[in-house]
Structure formats: structure tokens, C-alpha cells
Symmetry: C2
């Protein structure tokens, strides 16, 4: 069993030694003296839980910056969907690898994906050592064959490592029918799979849902039996108090995506009420074509700032938003991770305290949420293995070269259209 011993690292305001054996933290004490395969000096460094990105579309990294200053509808219909239609399987694989490289470099060890070409995503995740909940996406506009293929995939799930789980991801109330939602809910219950969907992202979605189904998206999904503790709902902006209480009572996990919601002008997440009513919340970056990065540190800061300017400077405190981005992301997807404690899965970041943005260190977490950036991350550990050490991810040049080539081809198509 592989072992890593980190000596003299700052953890919870004290210098400690941390032992990782296999993929778990096994001892956290002062002065651990045992042999280990790798001994790491933690001087002038701190150990923090890494990020768990609860809602993204990884392969869209290949579309970063291809369209700006548009509303969600315009952006999807005029730019994103036509480009996506031109993406080939290998583009997905290349895009996911680009996304994972960016995630590792910015301290993320898990992402929940909603996109296409699941086998290519699985391959990229397995190779790069990160964790993921990979969604089989259902969009009825893609036709009945596409839906059937998704259902067959779920019936015969491929073998994966323990780092990978498959989720069921119906796209949204405006792209999935009542029948299919009910069918997916039944399969999810039967197979103990998580359902991950977009919910109440725009006012248009709410108005259309009321016009079509006579009720709002939250009420509609509740009516269809879709809401429960294994449901993860992204965005959740246009909701009333009663709907917040339904979501809380069903144990649904909300994912806040502040950058994307702001950039597309979708609206403001009701952080103050959601905290007061004690709903489950995790944080996500959304796809990087509407963000335009996958940086969960930046997402924490922007979540806190947005809450404060809307609901008051005391709302969404440093430790709360940090929990949304770390522990809660892990909990939403049933991972025994997200905190550095004996017995937990060994995921961690080693932070460089000799970075100008981390000084002075009156309050490490405050610096981390509000001041840091990816330059403060020295190393990233996932499942007891270093994915990045001293700022380097093995093979990163090849991943970037492949992305450049694929993007050149897509850019040529984009400029024609």
C-alpha cells in the first residue's frame, strides 16, 4: 500500500504531520515517525481540503471565449449548439483533458459533469487521476434514438475505478418530457444513481414551464417525483419561499454557479434565505464557456461578494462559502471526502504560504477565499496520489498541444458560420 508522510504542515492553525496510506488519511499528529514511500516537507505550507466542483460541462473548455456578451438563450442557440454539433468524439476527450488540467492546477479534485460522449469523459478522468460524477445526458430534442442510447448505457454501466460514478442528467424542464423525467426518476431510485439537472435558471424557463405545465419548474419536478436527497439541482435562481421549503424538505442539493449566473444575466441566487432555511448547497463553475474558467477559488470569492452586495456584508461568511466549495460538494455526491481527517479519502491541497497573496496570515481561510489564486497552490493530492507536485502536472504540454489543434479546427468552422 502506497504511503505519503507530510511533515510539519500547517493544518487547523497548528503544525502537524499527516500520514496517507492507500487512498485514506490514516494519522494526523505531531511527530509521526514511520517509514513512508514518500516524505514531503511541509514547512511554510498549509494543508487544505481541495475543491469539489458540483456542476460543470467539462468538454466545453474547448469553447472557451468563443462568444461573449450575450444572454443564455442567444448564446446557446446562436453560438454554442451549432459549434457543439461540429465537435467530434476525440474533441470531447481532448476538451475534457484540457478541463481536468485546469481543474488540477486550480485545486479541484472532483467534478460533476453534464455533457455528451460519456465513454470519452470516463477515459480522460481515469487517465488523469481525478474524481468525477459523469452524467448521461438526456435532451429529447436530440431525438428518441439518442434517449434510447442513454437508457441502454445506464442499463449496462461500464466498470470504472472507485473515483468515477455515473449520474443521470436530464438537461432541464424545457428539454425533457414528463414521461422521460418519471422514467429516469424510477431508474435512479432502482439503481441508486444520482439525478443531476438544471433547475429554475432563467425567468423565461419559469414562465414557459407555467405556461406549458401549469406550474413552476420546482413544483413540476416535485409533482413528477424527481426531488429527493439524491437530486442535485444546478442554478436554482427563480424560486419562491415555498419552493425553497420543498427543496429543503426533499433534501435536494442545490448548486450555486455565481459566475455563470451573473455573466449570462440569469439572476441572483437567494443565498441569505437559503442559508437561513438551512438548505443543502454546493458550489460549481458551470461550463467554462459561460464563466470562463473552472476556478473554484474565484467562484468562492464571487459567491460571497454577490451574497454580500445583495443581502448584507455579514451574509455568506468565509467558512460557509468554503464549506460549499469543499465538504458540501463531496457530500452532494456521496463522497467520504472534503475534509482532512483520519479515515477520510486522502484529497488535499498543499498551499504555499510564501506567496505574496497569502501574506500576512492573520486568517488563512480568509486569504484563501478572498486573496489567493492558483499561483498559491503548490501541490494537489487526490485519492492518495499527487496529481500536481510543485506546480507541475505530468504531461501537461501534450494536453495543451492537443487542445490547440482541436480548437484550430473548430475556430475555422466558427468563422465560416
Amino acid at each position: 500500500m502506497n504511503s505519503i508522510l507530510i511533515k510539519n504542515i500547517l493544518l487547523d492553525k497548528q503544525l502537524r504531520d499527516v500520514l496517507i496510506e492507500g487512498n485514506r488519511f490514516t494519522r494526523i499528529e505531531k511527530n509521526i515517525e514511520v517509514p513512508a514511500d514518500l516524505i514531503v516537507d511541509g514547512s511554510d505550507k498549509a494543508l487544505l481540503p481541495p475543491f469539489y466542483n458540483a456542476h460543470t460541462h467539462a468538454a466545453m473548455s474547448l469553447l472557451r471565449g468563443c462568444a461573449e456578451d450575450m444572454s443564455l438563450t442567444e448564446w446557446l442557440q446562436d453560438k454554442i449548439w451549432p459549434l457543439e454539433a461540429k465537435m467530434q468524439n476525440d474533441d470531447h476527450y481532448v476538451g475534457v483533458r484540457l478541463a481536468i488540467l485546469e481543474m488540477i492546477k486550480s485545486g479541484t479534485v472532483f467534478f460533476s459533469d453534464m455533457y455528451f460522449n460519456v465513454p470519452d469523459t470516463i477515459r480522460a478522468v481515469e487517465e488523469m487521476g481525478i474524481r468525477a460524477a459523469i452524467g448521461v445526458t438526456f435532451l429529447e430534442s436530440n431525438g428518441p434514438k439518442y434517449v434510447e442510447r442513454g437508457l441502454r448505457f445506464i442499463e449496462n454501466l461500464p466498470e470504472t475505478s472507485s473515483r468515477v460514478q455515473i449520474t443521470i442528467t436530464p438537461h432541464a424542464v424545457y428539454t425533457v418530457s414528463a414521461d422521460l423525467f418519471k422514467r429516469l426518476a424510477a431508474i435512479a431510485r432502482e439503481r441508486s444513481l444520482i439525478i443531476h439537472t438544471h433547475l429554475a435558471e432563467t425567468l423565461q424557463e419559469v414562465q414557459d414551464c407555467i405556461a406549458t405545465h401549469g406550474m413552476s419548474p420546482v413544483r413540476w419536478l416535485d409533482h413528477l417525483g424527481l426531488l429527493g436527497p439524491n437530486t442535485v439541482a444546478a442554478h436554482v435562481i427563480h424560486v419562491d419561499d415555498y419552493e425553497l421549503e420543498i427543496l429543503r424538505d426533499r433534501g435536494v442539493w442545490l448548486v450555486h454557479n455565481p459566475c455563470s449566473n451573473m455573466k449570462l444575466g440569469s439572476g441572483v441566487f437567494r443565498s441569505a434565505d437559503i442559508i437561513e432555511k438551512k438548505l443543502n448547497v454546493a458550489l460549481g463553475t458551470d461550463g467554462c464557456s459561460s464563466n470562463n474558467n473552472l476556478d473554484m477559488r474565484e467562484e468562492m470569492k464571487i459567491a460571497a461578494l454577490l451574497a454580500k452586495v445583495h443581502y448584507g456584508s455579514e451574509v455568506l461568511k468565509v467558512d460557509e462559502v468554503f464549506h460549499w466549495a469543499t465538504l458540501n460538494g463531496a457530500r452532494a455526491y456521496g463522497l467520504d471526502a472534503g475534509e482532512i481527517a483520519v479515515g477520510k479519502l486522502a484529497d488535499a491541497l498543499i498551499i504555499d504560504l510564501n506567496n505574496v497573496r497569502m501574506l500576512p496570515t492573520y486568517d488563512l481561510l480568509s486569504n484563501w477565499v478572498y486573496s489567493a489564486d492558483s499561483s498559491c497552490i503548490d501541490s494537489v493530492i487526490c485519492d492518495g496520489r499527487f496529481l500536481m507536485q510543485g506546480g507541475k502536472v505530468p504531461g501537461e504540454e501534450f494536453i495543451m498541444e492537443a487542445a490547440k489543434k482541436a480548437a484550430c479546427r473548430l475556430a475555422a468552422i466558427n468563422n465560416q458560420g
Copy 2:
């Protein structure tokens, strides 16, 4: 005369050579073949104008993270002012150097400062090679002697390099009397100095000003003759349409500080109306104890996101917010800089295009505003000199060590109080 020749660098969507002689750009062409003191390979890199931070309090970097989740008033009165009272002269110098190091590392070559101990700030700026507009601050609560000292300082301005200018910085309408404002306005006109003040930052400030002077802060300062093209007003949140027109007609420069305004819950800058009415706007980070960093790249993204969520996804486009952060910051302070063009002061950033956050490169500026972070900055040039090259700032370890020591002493005081 010192010369730098940068070969084959991406600039305005083409590969070019750029020649710097002395402190100006002198040639920008393909294939420049001249001898130069330093020849730099620009392959896989881009040249961009750097940031001009139009409103900050540099030495407050020494207070980063010392107080969170509070309103402006609480934060100032209970935390910041008591700590500031304990800061010694050398702390200011150490704090400013820490701030400048962070600015250089995040691509800023100029800052407009409003704080105390001007000679220590000048010393730090001169040593570290950056540009600054350093304010002589007037706060009447500090007593008449303090005001007299400020006036005497302005009467006998010290000799400085061309990188440094002195400004007059009355703190705000609630800390400076009508008489002093008028006196400072007269001195500024006579000496051709810029006046830099806080304006209409909080609703409380507006209400108190109306109660005391019978008019709002903007109307009050206009009544006192303070508003003109040499006036820089920070924050400017709580203003009506008529006041925006006064500010435009007088040619006042507004500084938008989105992070600080959001974090302290001060309010939302009226970006859409301000753009429509064609006011002059620059961008600033405010002091890093209310931000909590000095990262202008992050400030651009957050300014754009805040504008979009409030006024629509098409408001504050990529090139607009980039101009606020670069060219307009330079123009607000009368610098012949902020764009890379022959004859302009030679300030620039060399950006690493082989950074995962800059890929794919459909749109360099969109990547820079929305996706990048300081890890994408390879080098920083100010006034024809490299302040950072290949990520390294000479002497950075000493600057950080000094900051740690000073912060330890202040932290001990903070914990007692």
C-alpha cells in the same frame, strides 16, 4: 539609452517585433533588426497593456484578512482604525512594498494611493520601479496639526522621478469640512495637482450629507467647486441621474471598485447608465483589507459580472472593462501610457499563451478578462524596465519576510484589543 527588443510576440492579433528605447515604445513592426541591450523571445507569448489601479490604499495590505463579514462602518471603526493607529512608519513602508510586490505579480504598474506617511510610500515606489499617484490625505478628525502638516507638505513637494506624482486626497464629505475642501480645491488648481476623494460610497454617507449640508455628496462637492477634469472620485454608487450628468459635464473621473463595494455591501455601481451617458471611468481595487487582494484582472471580471447580472448580459463588454482597467486608469492620472503604441510610455505585460487558462485562444482579451489569473503573467515592463521577468521579482523574499515580521507585531496587538 537602454533598449529592449521583443521578437515575434502576439500583439493585436499579429506577430510583431517591439522595440523599447529609454522609457518609450519606439518601433512596432515585423522583423526589426537592430542591436539592443536585451533581446527577448516572444514566441507563444502575447503583449498586453498592464493595469493602472486608480484607487487603493497600498499599506493596508499589511491588514489583509484581519476582519471579515462586516459593514463598512463597523469594519472601519471597530477593526481598521484601531489597528492603523498602532502602525509605525516602518510598517507603512513594509506594507507598501508588500502591496507593490503583489501588484507587479498581478500585472499592475501604477497605483493611485490614498493613505498616510507619504515619504515612506514614495521611498517604496522609487525603489521598486512602479508608477504611483501618491495622495496627501486630509481627515479632519486627525486634528488641525495633521491638516497643517499635509498643507506644508504640498507647499514643498519633494523631488521625485517622473514615475511619481503627488495628489491631494481629502478623505470624504464626512471627514473634511467645507472650508478645507475649498482650500484644497484652490491649491489643486494653482499647483495643477489631481484631487482624489471617496464619493457617494454608502447610503449612510448620502443621508448624513443631506442632513448636514442640505444636499447630496455630489451636489455638495460641486457646490464647493471641487468637481473638474482633475478630480478622481472613488466608488460613486449612490447617485441619481442628475448627479451622473454633473459628473460627466465636469469631466470627473469615476473609479469603480466592485470587489470592495460588494464585500462591504456598499451597493452597485450604475455601469449601464454610466456607459450610456459616456462618463469617464477607471477601475480600482480599493485597499486590500476590503477586497482582499490588489488583482486588477480579477477586478475586471467581477466588474463585468456585476454589471451583467444587474443590467443585462450585453452590458460592459470585454473591451470596455479592459479599457477601464488599463488606458482609462492612465488617462485619469494624465499618464501618456496604457496602450502599446509607438511614442507611448513603455509599460507592458508579457502573457504566457501556453498556460491552460489561456487556451484555446479564440479571443485573447476574453481569456484575459474572464479566464486568466496571475499565473498567466510571464513578465512585467514599466517605464522601459523589467519589474518582473519569468515570474520573478528581484528581492521578493526580503519583502515578504519584512511583512511577516511587521504583521506578527500587529497581530499581537489585534488579539489584545
